[in-house]
């Protein structure tokens, strides 16, 4: 490689110029994109650590001017957000566990090539990706099942997803047949093979699907906002959404100045929201670096088999 470079040294000067320019351009574009993603987040974090009244004067960029933890204190003091947080955690844990169980069972069964009806089932399941009943029939059905205004609406509708089901099936198919055969000879039934051989070998795909599902649960505000009339059982994302929607409708942002005049407290509704945004996002951010490799792997498994 090195020798080649020195031999080509001369011609490189000629053709190297535009190549280098392209390289610099690529770096500029990608660095620009990364900054466009990070800087707004830093701005929000800085705002959440800044005195609310002071922030309303503007001029906060990437570092708090008047550092305070009051916003966070207020968020935790306010019972609604803490309670909503608990509900989010509960639905994430319960929803993800239930969803993993149902999905992995079905994926394992659908993996068996000789299973009568396998093809038909796969087609029927995949078809739901292309066509659905729409918002209203779905709502009526949930209502009939007693899911509306019930914690179950956070768990049941997201139990199985076609993409994750196919992802798992593809992974299970890659497990060598011989392992299962030997277990069968040892007198293992299908269920035994599944729990003792298939599951332990499938940790990567379980991790991927589990994490995707968990993130979906964590981020879902829709079911809380539309299927849960009482605010008692709202997850934290729905609480935030209600704050946001109210702010959007009342032009609250322009009237922050009024809040300063009225409110002697250093916390404004605006700075409170920023703190709420940060505490809702931090769990994902903390987890993210560790699980990123799983996420990318998952996207690739999903890409191979559609």
């Amino acid at each position: 490689m090195k020798a080649k470079r020195t031999v080509n040294g001369r011609s490189k000067i000629k053709s190297g110029r535009p190549d280098q320019i392209i390289q610099v351009l690529i770096y500029c574009v990608v660095i620009g994109l990364c900054l466009a993603i990070i800087l707004p987040c830093v701005n929000i974090a800085a705002l959440s650590f800044n005195d609310g009244k002071d922030a309303a004067k503007g001029g906060i960029y990437f570092w708090p001017r008047l550092f305070t933890l009051d916003n966070y204190r207020q968020v935790f003091k306010d019972g609604t957000i803490t309670k909503a947080y608990m509900i989010t955690i509960a639905r994430t844990v319960i929803g993800t566990t239930a969803s993993l169980a149902v999905t992995s069972f079905a994926a394992y069964a659908l993996k068996e090539k000789e299973l009568p009806g396998r093809k038909l089932l796969t087609i029927l399941i995949t078809f739901t990706m292309l066509f659905g009943g729409g918002m209203i029939p779905t709502y009526i059905q949930y209502n009939k099942l007693g899911l509306v205004d019930h914690f179950g609406v956070y768990v049941v509708p997201g139990l199985v997803s076609v993409t994750y089901l196919l992802m798992m099936r593809t992974f299970f198919e890659s497990i060598p047949e011989s392992l299962e055969e030997s277990a069968k000879l040892d007198g293992c039934g299908y269920f035994g093979i599944f729990t003792r051989i298939v599951l332990p070998l499938s940790k990567p795909v379980i991790a991927v699907v589990g994490l995707y599902t968990a993130v979906n649960h964590w981020n879902d505000w829709f079911s809380g906002a539309f299927y849960m009339r009482s605010s008692r059982l709202w997850p934290v994302q729905t609480v935030l959404q209600q704050m946001l929607t109210r702010a959007m409708a009342n032009k609250e942002v322009t009237s922050v100045a009024q809040a300063i005049a009225q409110n002697s407290n250093s916390v404004t509704s605006d700075s409170l929201k920023m703190a709420a945004v940060v505490i809702t996002t931090v769990p994902i951010l903390c987890l993210y670096p560790f699980v990123q490799k799983y996420f990318t792997k998952g996207a690739m498994i999903g890409a191979v088999k559609e």
């Binding site: 994302q237 946001l244 322009t254």
Partner: protein, 301 residues
């Protein structure tokens, strides 16, 4: 082996399938049957079957209504933004990332660009609202510093709505969507690149003649999948970005269905509009799939 023998042999597997089958019947297929509502004058008391038929009245009502042209236009603009305008950016990012020789830098930029995908729409819009706030938001402050008017209320002006939607969606998804293309690019035979180097191909030519044709299958598949959402995409963003100021453009078929159905209680009418969306989406996927099969050999089924 006969079918009955197989059924007996595989019964534990069927048992494992039961929860999944029940789920799809109750959560997906029953509501699919519920589209009958679109042809009925629904009342809660009588249920779907007991309510009287009204034929295509709701469809007629919708197509002749005052809202129809405006809703269709807004929906199409959003659909075109999300399914077509945004489509090439992830491919471009994947191509750029692939050109990095520095692995560490590549890894860091991937980590950063994937990140927004994991933030919820509520979080993103809340952030956006603060960042775009007139006078005190960071964007307006920069505009002020550069000598512009720092008082622009981006979220209240209809003319900024689609731009905002586009940038927000791109910001969130560009990195994540590029993963699949990166995976496809890494699958392209490296011997082709070596041969091209020997022939004196420039980088751009390699991308154009080797990489892009090499990932054509992936591009085609993702395009077909995306096109089905032409009339029903971006509900979350639109719903959350709506303000009294931009209501005239932030009103699409999705928000209309929601307003008519869940808020005004006109279940039949709302179902009819939803059904139009679903059917158009399905037809678009079928057409694109067929076209793609004929011209590129790539198809979903």
């Amino acid at each position: 082996m006969s079918i009955t023998k197989k059924l007996i042999r595989f019964w534990p597997l069927y048992l494992m399938l039961v929860p999944c089958i029940i789920y799809y019947i109750l959560i997906c297929y029953v509501p699919m049957g519920g589209v009958l509502l679109a042809f009925k004058d629904y009342s809660f008391r009588k249920g779907i079957w007991g309510s009287p038929w009204v034929g295509f009245r709701y469809f007629q009502m919708f197509f002749t209504s005052y809202d129809f042209p405006r809703l269709l236009k807004n929906t199409l603009i959003v659909g075109l933004i999300k399914c077509i305008l945004e489509f090439p950016f992830a491919i471009i990012l994947a191509l750029l990332l692939n050109e990095f020789k520095n692995e560490k830098f590549k890894k860091i930029s991937q980590t950063i660009t994937y990140l927004p995908h994991f933030l919820s729409t509520v979080i993103i819009v809340t952030m956006l609202q603060r960042i775009l706030a007139p006078n005190i938001g960071i964007l307006n402050q920069f505009i002020g510093k550069l000598g512009g008017d720092p008082g622009t209320f981006f979220l209240m002006e209809p003319k900024y709505f689609f731009q905002l939607l586009f940038s927000m969606d791109l910001w969130r998804n560009i990195g994540w969507d590029s993963i699949i293309y990166l995976a496809a690019i890494s699958g392209v035979d490296s011997a082709l690149y070596e041969a091209a180097s020997i022939d004196g191909c420039t980088r751009l030519k390699k991308i154009w003649y080797i990489t892009l044709p090499g990932i054509r299958g992936t591009i085609g598949l993702l395009f077909i999948m995306g096109v089905g959402g032409l009339l029903s995409s971006g509900f979350e963003q639109i719903y959350l970005l709506r303000t009294p100021g931009n209501m005239s453009v932030a009103d699409t078929l999705d928000t209309f269905v929601l307003k008519m159905g869940l808020m005004n209680g006109q279940f039949g009418y709302a179902t009819a509009v939803g059904l139009i969306q679903g059917i158009v989406g399905l037809i678009l996927v079928i057409i694109c799939n067929r076209l793609s099969k004929r011209f590129t050999g790539v198809s979903l089924w």
